[in-house]
């Protein structure tokens, strides 16, 4: 027996892929392959191992960038949320970072850090970090003051209040920031490979486009979306394990 939510997910996938197939068959554009053509191109990429060597390359800046953004972003966010001084210092930097036209700034990064891994990690971080920092800071700042007072009146230390009250209270919004930040990081990783040096998945995309092998190009794009979705699902599972109470609603309703 399928559960109701699984059934709905299946239905939604069928509608999206069905529309894709129909649009490819019309065709809406010569450069737009059907769903099945793209999937068979993906199978070919898997069988000849191209996709594995590509991801070995793409995952480097992606994993490093997301790890840095996650750890540093949440850390800076908590700090910024707790201290008005650091809020004043850091928030403008991240607001500028978030709204900057990144593609236009990539040449500057290349001048500064070359065409290697460092520049690509920077691109991932610039995409992923601001939303993580700003969400975390906002959530920390908006912790209900009565539960913080409760912590103080029951003799909680500064550290207890941060670890046992502020962070759990902020965790739902911290996690939603992580989800947004990580999806932006995936976009950043591909952008870096298209704009800096064509390696990994970005190389498959730009090479297939240049030889008009559109099914392979869409297969590569599809694979990165699939990976991002799987990763975000994993993150949701982690949240449910770490913060059991989060999925149970709130007392002050």
């Amino acid at each position: 027996m399928f559960s109701r939510s699984l059934l709905l997910k299946f239905l939604s996938a069928t509608i999206v892929f069905g529309t894709w197939e129909i649009a490819g068959r019309i065709p809406v554009s010569y450069a737009f392959p059907t769903f099945f053509e793209s999937m068979s191109a993906l199978v070919v990429l898997f069988l000849d191992g191209t996709i594995f060597t590509a991801y070995a390359e793409t995952l480097k800046p992606l994993v490093v960038g997301i790890a840095i953004s996650g750890v540093l972003g949440i850390g800076l966010g908590i700090w910024t949320g707790l201290s008005p001084k650091f809020d004043w210092l850091f928030s403008p930097i991240f607001i500028v970072m978030q709204s900057a036209p990144l593609a236009a700034l990539i040449p500057l990064l290349i001048v500064a850090y070359g065409i290697g891994l460092t520049s690509k990690v920077f691109v991932v971080c610039i995409m992923a970090m601001p939303v993580i920092v700003l969400n975390t800071a906002g959530a920390v700042r908006n912790t209900p003051s009565s539960i913080k007072e409760m912590g103080r009146s029951f003799l909680g230390s500064e550290r207890d209040i941060i670890l046992k009250i502020i962070i759990p209270a902020a965790s739902p919004i911290i996690f939603s920031g992580l989800r947004l930040g990580i999806s932006a990081g995936f976009i950043g990783a591909i952008l870096a490979e298209l704009k800096i040096t064509p390696t990994g998945v970005g190389d498959i995309i730009s090479y297939s486009r240049s030889i008009a092998d559109y099914p392979s190009m869409y297969a590569a794009i599809f694979s990165i979306i699939l990976l991002a979705v799987l990763f975000l699902n994993l993150l949701e599972k982690v949240e449910k394990i770490l913060f059991v109470g989060n999925i149970r609603g709130y007392a002050s309703d």
């Binding site: 007072e149 029951f154 207890d160 009250i165 002050s252």
Partner: protein, 268 residues
């Protein structure tokens, strides 16, 4: 009216044989340009319940938070058992108006949270918490979450948390104002038996005249702008007549009327 003792704030009553658990001495509190409390002095006799009653905005909650050590007074001092208050301490526990429960924590973790912050080992604090959960009538709900409970039950959790740290002074900030009328009456009766059984000093902030007269040994009436104690009333005649008879006792009715007469002009 003969049983009614009333004293002016300048002449603090000293009841024979009862010492003060908490004293507020010349407390003033100024926010940027608002004078919340001005030169307020008030004694809280040990083992009794003192209500702080007044119209909204008269600084009741500010006074309570200063006693709790959550706010520092601009001038003046608070003494608990003869010692100056510089911050929150193990001798005081707070019951919050909005319950202040952790929504992600079960009832038992919420009740044990005060002990958790004091570093009490898990098995020990859970067995203490279980006792107080039973005492407030929530047995069977140990593993429920706050959002699964009614407003009244949530405040019972808040009360159990305050009782479980075994502080001598219980500070209650309009604890029953967010629960419904029937639950509130039950709470008031339970509070009276709590005063009998637990040898604690209760400081109770409320805006309900009936509630203050019903539960208090001493009622301090605060008037606003700037806040000061205008009157101290000690109901004495009806406390031993049983919970069912208080509300029709002539002294109870007289005091309620008199307090309303003095507060009426301050309520807009």
């Amino acid at each position: 009216m003969a049983m009614l003792q009333t004293r002016n704030s300048s002449a603090q009553p000293h009841v024979a044989g009862v010492e003060n658990a908490v004293s507020a001495r010349n407390i003033s509190k100024n926010y940027v340009d608002v004078e919340a409390l001005k030169d307020l002095s008030l004694d809280f006799p040990r083992g009794q319940l003192t209500s702080v009653l007044g119209p909204s905005g008269c600084g009741k909650t500010t006074l309570l938070k200063i006693i709790a050590g959550l706010l520092t007074p601009t001038s003046g001092k608070i003494e608990v058992n003869g010692k100056n208050v510089t911050g929150p301490g193990p001798d005081r526990a707070f019951v919050f108006q909005d319950f202040a429960l952790l929504p992600w924590a079960s009832v038992i973790r919420n009740v044990a949270f005060g002990l958790e912050l004091r570093g009490v080992a898990k098995s020990e604090r859970n067995s203490i918490a279980e006792k107080y959960i039973r005492d407030v009538g929530l047995d069977g709900f140990e593993n429920s979450f706050p959002h699964e409970l009614s407003g009244g039950m949530r405040q019972r959790v808040g009360l159990a948390r305050a009782l479980s740290v075994d502080a001598q002074v219980l500070l209650m900030d309009e604890p029953f104002s967010a629960v419904d009328e029937q639950t509130r009456r039950k709470f008031q009766e339970d509070l009276l038996s709590l005063i009998q059984t637990e040898n604690k000093t209760f400081i109770f902030v409320t805006h309900s005249i009936e509630e203050a007269v019903y539960v208090s040994d001493q009622i301090a009436i605060l008037l606003p702008r700037p806040s000061r104690v205008s009157e101290i009333i000690r109901p004495s005649g009806f406390r031993d007549k049983g919970v069912d008879n208080i509300r029709r006792d002539p002294e109870y009715l007289d005091i309620v009327d008199r307090i309303w007469a003095s507060l009426r002009s301050y309520v807009e």
